[in-house]
C-alpha cells in the first residue's frame, strides 16, 4: 500500500504532474501542467481570463477529470472522480458561484449532504460551526438565513462548509472578485490563520497586489501552460505582469486613423447599484467618439457588463448622466432614465452585442430569420410580421459573413459559437448604428471568425460609428482600439492611447483597484 510514498526530498500536500485537459478537439485548457503545494502554504495561481486556472483547479476538486497526467495527495497517487472523492482526500473547493440553498441557515447549508451516521442535531452542528468560525476568525452567525446575507457572508459559509468537512487543502476560486477591499483584508487574515494551522491553500486571482500580500509562492499560467512558479518574496508586480501577459504578440489587425472624431456618447459620473444593492460602478466618466474604437479592458466582473447595460437602458439604479449626441443635428438626448423602447423611439441608433449571446442577444430556439426580427419587428405593417426584410437580411448576413448553417430556418442554438456571434453582430450592424457596443465579441471564437469580427468593427468605425469594444485579450485591444479605457472594480483606472500604451501598463491598471482606492481616501 505504501510503496509509493517514498518520494524524493520534500513531501507535498498536493502535486500535479503533467496534467493535460482539452475540451472537444480544438480547445486545450491545460497543457502539461505540473505544480505542487506544500503543507502550510498559500499558493496563488495567477493568469488572465481563459488561461486555464479554473479548469486546472476543477480537476483537483473532482469536477473534471484530466485527459492525462497524475495527481498526488500527501505523496500518494489520488484518483479523483467527483467532488465527493476530493473530500475523501480532504480537498475542498470554494467556487466563484456559490451553491447554497437560499432559505436555509448557514448551518443547514454547511451540514447539507453530510451523513456520518450520527444523530441529526442541528444545534450541535451550529455549535461546531461557531467553533470553527471562532478558531479562524470568521464573522458568521450559524443561524442566519442565506437570503439575509451579503456576498461576503455567503462566501464565508462556503469556506466554513469546506472546513467543517475537515478539508486540509482549500481551493479558493477568485474569492476576492466579489468582495470590498475591507472584506478582502478580513478574508486574507482568515487565510493566514488557516495556513498557520497547517492547511494548504490554493487561491486563484488576477489581482497582483493581492497575490503579493497573501501568497507564499505564485504559479503563473498563460494560455493553458504553466509558465513558472516563483517565491512571492523574490518577485514584484512588473515581473509577474510580464509572465502573465507574455511578450506582445503582433496580430496584424488593421487600424486606420479616426476621421473627424466627435463625441457621440458622453457618460459622466455614473454610479450604479445592482439589484441587491451592491455598488458596481463608481463615478465612471468617459466619452465615445464617432469614427473611433474605444476599448474597455479589465478583469472579468469589473463592471463592464453593468456599464453597457446602463447605456442600453437595461439597468435600474443608475445615477449620473448618459448623453447621446444625434449625428444629424448634434441634439443632446438623455439616455439614463430611458427604457430600451424609449431609446429606440427617440431615434437613437444604439446597437448592443451583449456578452450573453443566447441568453440575451438572441433566442436560441428561434431560427436566424426570426432572430433578425428581434430588432426590427415593430416596424413595417401594423399587426402582422413582415418576414421578407429579415429573411433578406438573414441571407445577406449568411452570405457576407460566411455563416455556416444548413439554412436561414435553422434555430441559432444549433450553430457553432462563431456562427452564432456572426448572426448577432451582423444583426446589430445592420440597423446602421451610430453607437455600437460589443461585449467580448470574440470570446470562444476561432481565429478566422475573430478576424472577421475585427474587420466588421473596423468597417463600422470607418463609417463614422462610435464603437465600444469590451475585450479580454490585451494584444487585440492594443491593435484594434484607438483608446483603451481600463476598468478595475467598477472604477476607471486609466484611459490610454491605443497606439502608445504598453501591455504591462494595462495589466497593472487592471489590477490597481487598491491603490486607486487609497488615492481617493
Amino acid at each position: 500500500m505504501n510503496t509509493e510514498t517514498i518520494q524524493s526530498g520534500e513531501k507535498y500536500a498536493l502535486e500535479l504532474k503533467n496534467i493535460t485537459k482539452a475540451f472537444g478537439t480544438k480547445v486545450v485548457a491545460n497543457k502539461n501542467v505540473s505544480l505542487d503545494v506544500k503543507f502550510g502554504e498559500v499558493l496563488a495561481i495567477l493568469g488572465e481570463n481563459g488561461s486555464g486556472k479554473t479548469t486546472l483547479v476543477n480537476m483537483i476538486s473532482g469536477i473534471y477529470r484530466p485527459d492525462s497526467g497524475e495527481i498526488f495527495v500527501n505523496g500518494e497517487k489520488a484518483n479523483i472522480n467527483s467532488p465527493k472523492d476530493a473530500f475523501s482526500y480532504r480537498i475542498g473547493m470554494v467556487h466563484q458561484h456559490f451553491k447554497l440553498v437560499d432559505i436555509f441557515t448557514a448551518t443547514e447549508n454547511i451540514v447539507l449532504g453530510i451523513d456520518d451516521g450520527s444523530r441529526f442535531n442541528i444545534k450541535k452542528s451550529a455549535a461546531k460551526v461557531a467553533e470553527i468560525s471562532e478558531r479562524y476568525g470568521f464573522d458568521l452567525d450559524p443561524n442566519k438565513k442565506i437570503y439575509n446575507m451579503s456576498v461576503s457572508e455567503k462566501q464565508t459559509v462556503e469556506i466554513v462548509k469546506v472546513l467543517y468537512r475537515g478539508a486540509d487543502i482549500l481551493i479558493l476560486d477568485e474569492p476576492t472578485a466579489v468582495l470590498t477591499p475591507q472584506e478582502t483584508e478580513k478574508l486574507f487574515a482568515v487565510i493566514r490563520r488557516m495556513r498557520n494551522d497547517g492547511k494548504s491553500i490554493i487561491i486563484i486571482t488576477h489581482k497582483l497586489h493581492e497575490v503579493l500580500s497573501i501568497s507564499d509562492r505564485v504559479a503563473v499560467l498563460r494560455r493553458g501552460e504553466h509558465i513558472a512558479t516563483v517565491n512571492t518574496s523574490e518577485t514584484d508586480e512588473i515581473k509577474l505582469t510580464e509572465m502573465m501577459v507574455g511578450k506582445r504578440v503582433s496580430l496584424n489587425i488593421g487600424r486606420s486613423e479616426p476621421e473627424n472624431p466627435r463625441d457621440r456618447l458622453v457618460v459622466s459620473h455614473i454610479d450604479l447599484y445592482s439589484a441587491d444593492g451592491v455598488q458596481r460602478l463608481h463615478d465612471v466618466s468617459f466619452s465615445a467618439r464617432s469614427g473611433e474604437i474605444l476599448g474597455i479592458a479589465g478583469v472579468a466582473g469589473s463592471g463592464q457588463r453593468e456599464l453597457l447595460e446602463a447605456i442600453a437602458g437595461l439597468q435600474n439604479n443608475v445615477y449620473g448622466e448618459i448623453t447621446y449626441f444625434d449625428p444629424s443635428n448634434d441634439a443632446m438626448i438623455d439616455l439614463r432614465t430611458k427604457t430600451p423602447m424609449q431609446i429606440r423611439d427617440l431615434g437613437v441608433r444604439l446597437s448592443f452585442v451583449p456578452e450573453d449571446r443566447l441568453g440575451m442577444g438572441l433566442v436560441g430556439n428561434m431560427n436566424i430569420i426570426d432572430n433578425m426580427m428581434l430588432r426590427s419587428y415593430r416596424g413595417g405593417k401594423p399587426v402582422f410580421l413582415d418576414r421578407q426584410p429579415p429573411k433578406a437580411l438573414a441571407e445577406r448576413i449568411i452570405e457576407s459573413l460566411q455563416v455556416v448553417t444548413p439554412s436561414a430556418q435553422t434555430p441559432v442554438r444549433r450553430l457553432s459559437g462563431g456562427n452564432v456571434q456572426k448572426v448577432l453582430v451582423g444583426r446589430e450592424i445592420a440597423s446602421a448604428p451610430s453607437v455600437l457596443m460589443a461585449a467580448y465579441p470574440v470570446r470562444g471564437l476561432d481565429i478566422n471568425s475573430s478576424y472577421m469580427i475585427y474587420n466588421l468593427l473596423n468597417a463600422q468605425k470607418e463609417n463614422g460609428v462610435a464603437v465600444i469594444y469590451v475585450g479580454e485579450d490585451l494584444d487585440v485591444l492594443l491593435e484594434l482600439c484607438d483608446r483603451i479605457m481600463v476598468l478595475c472594480a467598477g472604477r476607471i483606472t486609466g484611459i490610454l492611447d491605443g497606439r502608445t500604451a504598453k501591455k504591462e501598463e494595462i495589466g497593472l491598471l487592471m489590477t490597481k483597484a487598491k491603490e486607486v482606492q487609497r488615492d481617493n481616501d
Binding site: 480532504r90 423602447m341 399587426v383
Partner: protein, 377 residues
C-alpha cells in the same frame, strides 16, 4: 502534521465510477425521427390497450378497434364526434398562446364555465325583457368578457407579484364551478342540477344549415386559422414567443413583459369564454357545473402534445376524441362502464408523454470494461 498522512480514504473513492447509463440532451432530431418516435408510442399504447381490453371484454382486439371506429364515425355518431372535437380543439387553441409564453394556465375549465355562466345569466336575466337580438349581443359580450376576466385576474398577479399562476388558475376553476352551482340554485327553483333549454330560450345563437353544431364547427375552424396566424405571423405572437423563450431577451429588445403576459391571458380567457358561450348559446341551451366536462384539462394535454402548434392540435385533439368516443361505444357494446375511455386515454397519454424523452434526450449504455479492477491496482 502526521495526522495528514493518515487521511482516511474510503474504498469507494477508488472505484471507477463510470455509470452504466449516461443521458445527454440532444439537439436537432430530424422531423422523420420525431414522427417515428411518436407514432411508435401511439402504436405501443394501442397494443397495450389491445392486451388489456380483451381481458375485460373477452372480444378480440381487432374487432374492438373496429367498434371504436364505428363509435366515432358511424352515421348517427359522427356529428356528436365532430362537436366534441371542435370544443376540445377550441379550448386547446385558447390555452396555447399562454403556454407558448410559459404561463401555465390550467384554468381553462373555469374560464369556459365563466363564459357559459355569463351567457346563461344574460339569457335568463334579459330573455323576454328586451328584443332577442339584444339578448344575443349582450350574451356574446358577457360570455367573452367573463372568460377574459377569469383569465386576466391571475395574469395581473403573475405579472406584478409573480404569484404562482398554476395554482391560482387551478383554484379559479372551482370558484367558477361553485358560482355555476349557485346560479343553478337561484335560476331554477325546482332544485334540479341543470338549468335547461326550457329556461334558456331567448337569444340563442342561430342554427346554420339546419345543423345544430355547424356554427361551432365554423367558428372553431376560423379560430384555428386565426390562432395559427396569430402565433406565427403577428407581432403579438412573436412577442409571446420571445417572452416564453427568454424574458432577458425580451427586456433587451424592449418588450414590455407585463403587458404581454396580461394581454395574452386576456386572449386565452376570451377564447375560453367564447367556447362557453357556444356551449350554452348554440349547443345545449343548458348549463351545469360539468358543462366543460374536463375539456379544460384535456385541452392542456392536447396543446402540449402538439407542441403548441395549432395545426398539429387538429391531430392530437382528434386522437383524444376518437379514443373517448370509440371507447364509449366499446363500453356500451360490452356493457362496460363508460369510464373505460378515460383509462385508454390515460394509457395513450402516458406513452406519448413518455416518448418525448427519447426525442429530447439521448441514452448511451456504457459497457463496464472492468473499470473497477483497473482502478483498484
Amino acid at each position: 502534521m502526521t495526522d495528514n498522512v493518515k487521511t482516511a480514504v474510503p474504498k469507494e473513492a477508488h472505484a471507477g465510477k463510470t455509470p452504466w447509463v449516461t443521458i445527454t440532451k440532444r439537439d436537432g432530431v430530424g422531423l422523420k425521427r420525431r414522427i417515428l418516435i411518436r407514432v411508435a408510442a401511439i402504436f405501443a399504447a394501442l397494443v397495450l390497450g389491445s392486451i388489456i381490453t380483451p381481458l375485460v371484454t373477452g372480444d378480440n382486439p381487432l374487432s374492438i378497434y373496429g367498434t371504436m371506429v364505428k363509435g366515432a364515425f358511424s352515421e348517427y355518431r359522427i356529428w356528436g364526434t365532430a362537436q366534441s372535437f371542435v370544443m376540445l380543439l377550441g379550448i386547446s387553441l385558447a390555452v396555447t398562446p399562454a403556454f407558448k409564453m410559459k404561463f401555465w394556465n390550467i384554468g381553462a375549465e373555469g374560464q369556459v364555465l365563466a363564459g357559459a355562466l355569463a351567457t346563461a345569466a344574460v339569457m335568463v336575466g334579459l330573455g323576454g325583457k328586451v328584443p332577442d337580438w339584444t339578448v344575443t349581443l349582450v350574451m356574446i359580450a358577457a360570455g367573452i368578457g367573463a372568460g377574459t376576466l377569469w383569465g386576466v385576474i391571475p395574469a395581473v398577479f403573475k405579472a406584478f407579484w409573480k404569484t404562482n399562476e398554476t395554482l391560482f388558475t387551478l383554484m379559479l376553476n372551482y370558484v367558477a364551478i361553485q358560482l355555476v352551482e349557485y346560479f343553478l340554485k337561484i335560476a331554477d327553483k325546482s332544485g334540479s342540477n341543470t338549468v335547461g333549454p326550457s329556461l334558456l330560450t331567448h337569444g340563442r345563437l342561430p342554427v346554420l344549415f339546419g345543423q345544430q353544431y355547424m356554427l361551432n364547427i365554423i367558428i372553431v375552424t376560423l379560430l384555428t386559422a386565426f390562432i395559427y396566424v396569430y402565433m406565427y405571423y403577428s407581432k403579438h405572437g412573436y412577442e409571446i414567443a420571445v417572452v416564453g423563450e427568454s424574458e432577458n431577451t425580451a427586456r433587451y429588445v424592449g418588450i414590455n413583459v407585463k403587458k404581454v403576459i396580461i394581454r395574452t391571458m386576456a386572449l386565452s380567457g376570451a377564447i375560453c369564454g367564447l367556447m362557453g358561450l357556444l356551449l350554452v348559446g348554440a349547443t345545449s341551451y343548458s348549463i351545469d357545473a360539468n358543462l366543460a366536462g374536463g375539456n379544460g384539462f384535456t385541452a392542456i394535454m392536447v396543446s402540449w402534445l402538439a407542441k403548441f402548434n395549432p395545426l398539429l392540435m387538429i391531430l392530437t385533439a382528434a386522437l383524444i376524441v376518437f379514443m373517448s368516443r370509440g371507447a364509449e361505444e366499446v363500453s356500451t357494446k360490452f356493457g362496460l362502464n363508460s369510464s373505460y375511455s378515460d383509462i385508454l386515454t390515460g394509457i395513450i397519454l402516458f406513452f406519448i408523454i413518455g416518448c418525448e424523452f427519447f426525442i429530447n434526450y439521448e441514452v448511451h449504455f456504457n459497457r463496464r470494461r472492468g473499470a473497477k479492477k483497473e482502478e483498484a491496482e
